[in-house]
């Protein structure tokens, strides 16, 4: 696979090759995308008919890239008499400055050519290799090329303009130029992505925030967001680097929802640049102590789009929180169910958990009162439509076998839930961590009911139900001979017995009986699950284990951050520290940006974490991971109007201090220090 360069602003992003070019690709999302539509699929620059290659690429900012280029292939003897600088930035639209420098002492003629095209593919058409149903019509104008896509009333346009004169044809722009001795020539190209609404105007133009932002506006907003986050001081450079990278990536992944006009968090580049229920809820939980302002728009949007009817195509039920919202053609024409799609069994309890956690940090009682009805509907879903079989657990089974998801837990690939021998269970399935979330949601819902909704009887009922669920769960999911919790129950109520990372989440939820915490922890940090770089999704001796299998052997940073949170909750600080240390060591190999997942090979085998082949990066909940790990190491826990600080910094990490942590207490500082002095040789 050719190496790729990406820039993004919210859900507008560009993926190109190392030359800065986009060549048509039908199976991978290269190109310029906005709101799930590809607006450019061809963007190839040549100079006198020759491709260029990059001497260096500056991509320090997520929204801007600069390519320093010369003609020819990198293997050629380099004596360039001309060079080219492509500087591009993204902010709803794409801007590219093209600068040609003549290094000769005489005037030279050049032909600069840009091949331009768009297939207006929907992201799902790329994923599934489908053909377009509408028509693309190019229109060449004066220094402007307009690419128009129409299907019924669905109407998208890419409008490419040049500041310098050029010959425009239906497939690109040609510049015939003369540059004086040691002089340069510059043109500014602008690519507008236009989404037409029913009355012939850009749908985003009528929204309160507007879809297009200048680079200055992006920078100011990003800096403002980061300035409001606590300041980290520490000896450990990987931690400092990962913290800054995470804040920047989370700022860059915020996008403006086309349907609500608020800033939401996209899940991951390039496949998941949209709102996901589970991803945005878990990322919000990770980032809450640092970026609490991210939470209200997310939670309000999820409440606004809560399921209200039974709809088999969308796996929708009243009270259910959405899985995925898309804005493209296939969602609009109901060829894909993402308008929104509700195939997620865990986003509903996570919604209640986030609402409670948010109030505990911020004291924002107004939001809790405002969202009483959606929160009650979510809690009611757990015991009604969530409990498909009426056995007291949350189950899932898609009613849309064509385009729905088979697995509706965070491990949502088809083969993620298996018995130890590799067989796949039937449906419906009840995965263990979802029951933990349901337990936690009931307890937190009880607190909200008692404190804010003036309904102590409902609170009592929820607490009673939680206690019964915990007892039932510890009876039905525990495998006494193996001393761990089953991954799931199959439709006959029998345990699905693979050893997997899911039970780490149970510690976070608090559903684990105290007496069983120790064996669970020993499994999580034992050689079958712990690779040295983190806890694998599936134990290395299970039938379906594959160190580069998406959910069957890779290590997911976000998964590990939740597990570390759980270990802390049950008092296993040293073990939580081992996970923090492993993740931060791994982050160095990715320049502070933890990817979606990396391979599950033993640390001794590879010496560095091998990136999963098609991992998304940046990925919101991977960016949230260093933040949650910081919380775990410093032991930050709201208690009434105070913030408890109980640090346990892993050995050799030295000093960790977090200044100006905002919350209902105002601002406080947290200081921690490892027992031994800082020791860089440990890889952190």
């Amino acid at each position: 696979m050719r190496e790729r360069v990406s820039i993004l602003d919210g859900n507008t992003f560009l993926v190109c090759d190392r030359r800065g070019n986009i060549e048509p690709s039908y199976d991978f999302p290269t190109g310029l995308f906005s709101f799930d539509t590809r607006f450019l699929s061809t963007w190839v620059l040549t100079l006198n008919g020759q491709l260029l290659h990059a001497l260096s690429i500056d991509d320090a900012e997520s929204y801007r890239t600069r390519f320093f280029m010369v003609p020819g292939e990198p293997t050629h003897y380099l004596d360039a008499k001309v060079s080219v600088i492509r500087t591009r930035s993204i902010g709803g639209s794409l801007d590219e400055e093209l600068r040609v420098l003549n290094h000769e002492g005489r005037e030279v003629e050049f032909t600069v050519r840009l091949d331009i095209g768009s297939d207006f593919a929907d992201l799902f058409e790329i994923k599934h290799g489908r053909q377009k149903k509408g028509r693309v019509t190019p229109a060449a104008g004066e220094n402007e090329l307009r690419l128009v896509y129409r299907r019924d009333r669905f109407h998208r346009e890419s409008v490419i303009t040049s500041s310098m004169p050029c010959q425009v044809d239906e497939a690109g722009m040609t510049f015939s130029i003369r540059i004086g001795p040691h002089s340069e020539w510059v043109t500014n190209l602008h690519v507008a992505t236009v989404i037409y609404g029913a009355r012939g105007e850009d749908a985003r133009a009528t929204l309160p925030l507007g879809g297009h932002r200048s680079v200055d506006a992006i920078r100011t907003e990003e800096e403002d967001l980061i300035r409001r986050a606590p300041t980290l001081g520490c000896d450990c450079q990987p931690l400092a680097g990962a913290y800054q990278r995470s804040l920047k990536d989370l700022a860059a992944l915020r996008y403006e929802s086309i349907t609500l006009g608020v800033r939401l968090l996209a899940a991951g580049l390039p496949w998941f640049m949209t709102l996901f229920g589970r991803d945005s809820l878990l990322t919000s939980l990770q980032a809450l102590p640092f970026l609490p302002d991210l939470v209200p728009p997310t939670i309000l949007m999820l409440a606004g789009l809560q399921g209200s009817r039974l709809d088999d195509f969308r796996d929708e039920e009243p009270g259910k929180i959405l899985h995925e919202l898309r804005y493209g053609e296939t969602a609009g024409f109901e060829e894909q169910p993402h308008s929104p799609y509700y195939g997620s069994a865990d986003s509903t309890p996570l919604f209640v958990i986030l609402l409670d956690e948010y109030e505990r940090w911020t004291g924002d009682a107004r939001l809790v009162r405002q969202l009483e009805a959606p929160a009650r509907a979510a809690l009611a879903w757990l015991d009604t439509y969530g409990d498909l079989l009426g056995t007291g657990y949350v189950w899932y089974q898609t009613r849309n076998p064509e385009t729905g998801l088979q697995n509706q837990c965070w491990k949502d690939s088809w083969d993620s839930i298996s018995y130890a021998d590799g067989r796949l269970p039937g449906f419906p399935r009840a995965t263990c961590e979802t029951q933990g979330y349901a337990y936690d949601a009931k307890l937190r819902g009880a607190r909200l009911a008692r404190t804010f909704w003036n309904d102590p009887a409902y609170a009592d009922r929820l607490e009673r139900e939680a206690a019964e669920l915990k007892e039932r769960f510890n009876r039905d999911f525990w495998l006494p001979d193996r001393e761990y919790y089953a991954l799931a129950l199959d439709p006959d109520g029998r345990p699905v017995d693979a050893l997997a990372s899911n039970m780490g989440h149970l510690l976070w939820s608090g559903i684990v009986d105290e007496s069983r915490a120790r064996p669970v922890v020993e499994h999580l940090l034992g050689p079958r699950l712990f690779s040295g770089w983190g806890v694998r999704t599936l134990a290395s001796d299970e039938g379906r284990y594959n160190p580069i299998g998406y959910h069957v052997g890779t290590v997911w940073p976000f998964d590990n951050s939740i597990i570390a949170w759980g270990l802390w909750r049950y008092g296993f600080r040293e073990e939580a520290g081992r996970i923090c240390e492993a993740m931060l060591s791994a982050s160095q190999f990715f320049h502070g940006r933890l990817p979606e997942a990396f391979a599950g090979y033993d640390r001794d085998l590879t010496d560095y974490p091998v990136q999963y082949p098609t991992a998304c990066s940046p990925q919101a909940w991977s960016a949230g991971t260093p933040l949650l790990l910081l919380r775990v190491m410093l032991g930050l826990e709201p208690e009434g109007e105070h913030l408890i600080i109980d640090p346990a910094v892993p050995p050799g990490m030295g000093r960790v201090e977090l200044l100006d942590i905002r919350g209902r207490w105002g601002q406080v500082d947290a200081l921690g220090r490892s027992r031994g002095p800082h020791n860089g040789s440990r890889g952190h």
Binding site: A198, T259, L260, S308, D312, Y327, S339, Q370, Q397, R399
Partner: protein, 126 residues
């Protein structure tokens, strides 16, 4: 104006207590067009209640739809957000009201309770 649409608006006041549970108030106007003619339905939403009138007066949110599309929506045969995404329908103003109003739309025809279906299947598999 079709009978189904008239019946839909007539049913709203009785259904409001069950559907409108959030502390949100405001007015949404639904402009239904067919050929050159546009009918205006104005719905005042408040917790637990609605008031429906036929009036072109301004509102906090306006939803534009063809008569035909609206009939498909009120019979559960298509879905409102998808209609907006494919540009068959559009809206302006306060989106929260649109999101709340969609709660009045019924299930697609013939939809069964998924619990019944799952329990029947599980019964067979045993």
């Amino acid at each position: 104006m079709t009978e189904v649409t008239e019946d839909f608006f007539a049913s709203l006041p009785d259904r409001a207590p069950a559907v409108l549970r959030s502390p949100v108030s405001g007015t949404i106007r639904i402009d239904l067009s067919t050929g050159a003619r546009t009918d205006h339905w104005r719905v005042e939403l408040a917790p637990g209640q609605v008031r429906v009138s036929r009036s072109p007066e301004p509102a906090d949110a306006i939803w534009y739809s063809s008569v035909d599309l609206f009939e498909r929506l009120v019979t559960g045969r298509t879905q409102g957000i998808a209609a907006v995404l494919r540009n068959e329908s559009t809206f302006s103003g306060n989106l929260t009201l649109f999101l709340i109003f969609r709660h009045f739309f019924p299930d697609p025809p013939g939809t069964r309770d998924p619990r019944e279906v799952a329990r029947e299947q599980a019964g067979r598999s045993r």
